[in-house]
């Protein structure tokens, strides 16, 4: 592990010292690009590479910027229209939440819409749910009493409360949402109920008591 004296005493060969290094590169930076043919091609190639990158970058930015909008999380989309994003909640999402919220629909009709045999009628595949909008809106608004036939079975023990009044006081929008939800969930494929439709029926049936099956069958 000795360093023989007759060899180069420097720890390593140092072909270029600091002063030479600085001086040589200072000259390089100061000269014109074309005074030595050796490097002339390099800047040209770099120019191509650079413009290729810039072109790609600009195209990509233009295509996926989402117009720099704060509510665009999917780069393929653009902000809708000129105004702010429509702040109306999705009626189906609203309906799902109403259905599943505190002790309302799901506790009797069950989260899978099957009800409880002998006690609470199913909603999945029910001819009432998928029937005339005017009837289901009335049921939810004012409730239902007495025996009712669903899918060939009779349910009579329980009473459906009125969601449009009494303790619940659901708005037209909420009732429309929950009905749209149950009419399209669990394999049901009926048309959604609009808020206007609920509002119209609410005005028609103000102060109505709970409905019976016979009353409802009279509603067209």
């Amino acid at each position: 592990m000795s360093v023989p004296d007759h060899k180069d005493p420097r720890p390593e060969g140092a072909p270029m010292n600091d002063g030479e290094l600085l001086e040589a590169h200072e000259k390089l930076l100061g000269r014109q690009p074309d005074d030595r043919a050796k490097y002339r091609l390099l800047p040209l190639v770099m120019l191509f590479v650079l413009s290729g990158c810039v072109l790609f970058a600009a195209t990509y930015l233009n295509r996926y910027s989402g117009h720099f909008d704060r509510s665009i999380f999917n780069e393929n989309l653009l902000p809708t229209g000129s105004g702010p994003v429509d702040l109306k909640p999705d009626p189906i999402a609203l309906g799902r939440r109403m259905f599943n919220s505190g002790g309302a629909c799901y506790s009797c009709h069950q989260p899978n819409g099957q009800g409880i045999p002998g006690a609470y009628p199913p909603l999945a595949g029910s001819e009432w749910v998928n029937g005339a909008g005017a009837r289901v809106v009335r049921i939810v608004l004012d409730g239902l009493q007495g025996p009712v036939h669903v899918g060939g079975k009779t349910f009579g023990a329980a009473v459906m409360p009125a969601f449009g009044s009494s303790g619940f006081n659901w708005s037209d929008e909420q009732i429309a949402g929950v009905l749209s939800y149950v009419r399209q969930e669990w394999g049901n494929k009926s048309k959604p109920i609009s808020t206007d439709e609920v509002a119209k029926i609410r005005a028609l049936t103000a102060d109505h008591k709970a409905w019976s099956e016979a009353d409802l069958l009279g509603v067209k």
Partner: protein
Amino acid sequence: MTSANPQANPNDETPVEATGRCPIVLLLAFSLAWLLVSGTLAFIAGVQAHTPAFMAGCPILTYGHTRALQDTAFTYGWIANCGLALVTWILGRLGGHPLRAANWMGVGALFWNIAVAAGMVGIATGSATALTSLQIPGHIQPLMLAAYASIAVAGVLAWCGRSRPSLYAAQWYGVALLFLFPWIFSVAQVMLVWAPVHGVLQAIVEGWYAQSLWTLWMAPIALAGAYYVVPRVTGRVIPGYDLALLGFWSLIFIGGWTGGRHLIGGPVPAWIPTIAIVASVLLLPHYIIVLLNLGGAFTRNPADREGGRSLAFISFGLAAYVLGGAVDSVTGIRSVAAAIQFTWFDEAQRQLAVYGGVTMMLFGTLYYALPRLAGRAWASASLARGHLILSCIGIVLLVVGTAGAGIVQGSDLSTAGVSFAAIATDVHPWLSVGSVAHATLLLGNILLAINFAMTVGCGRLRAAAEALSS
């Protein structure tokens, strides 16, 4: 052992060594100690990755803690200490005057390492911030900032008082990184720790910090060293040097914009990842220019064995650095990102960049600098060769193993039916390769530390003996 005092090499002794030897060698010694700590933790984390029960009962070394500790020891222990030492040395030499404020540097080195050690204790005992690359608890960060300033002042003074007005590429990178770190570090501290911003902005600032730390601090550390050593050893000027300026400014201007690259598909507005992807493509010319400028490292003179060793490390690092840049832009593309996001592939990319790229270039610079600082050649050429071989093997194994794990994990994750237990089984062999790689790297670094201790320590012992006898 023959005498090898500094006067023995009149051709390459500058006043910088005479004035700055102590603090610079102190920083290097600290850095190597942290490198060993980080290597040990990396091995533990590597084993835990495929055998989760390993040391799971120890609340200090849960997997999350080991990873955070390893990252902290590596970034703020190894890279910071070694990088600052070598950059100051290079700035001092290119400045052409004796190093001023060397005492400040020594004191700063002491406090910086106390802070990092305290930070490690903080992380282990549960005060980590859970922020990428910024795990050190908030109350320690101001101390780090002060210590950093104290260390950096020597480099800044050497640059201000330089004897030639013109600046060489190594000086651009060196000065830039000295100033950029405190800026990005204090911004991150204020916006994430002291007065945290709201909601996902935290993730955005965190990404900006982590990427800036990489592009504006770690990469310049490596490049400053490489730009200095390559022409010194080869004896040739940098080819295409006029492009180096473009390479520098494109890194500095565009680097910070890659901050959103880990937020692709995440809960941030789409333009943030889009800009990051654009920025990583715009960085490609930087990598091409660096490769062009430093390509001389791949050709070496067989007669110059020690210089050749530096160049071997640097050329490996250069290849890894450029490859890392290319992989970064490819994986930015959203369809690729969707497949490998949140997998081990990300870790492979990081290791390729910070170990394969930055650390290898730092090793190269260290092998060049220490003989000049210590005034004598490296104590053992075979230890150095062993370190080179083990490092190269280790990095290739590590990157291949981790990337393989990432690809397997990515394809499993994208199939909804594959359970996490099945994924763990699938990546197990790949991750085992990773922990073998960590062991290899650790072994190599032990060789480096022994060699360093022998080189520096022998000189010290002899100097002490001479002082006693005179």
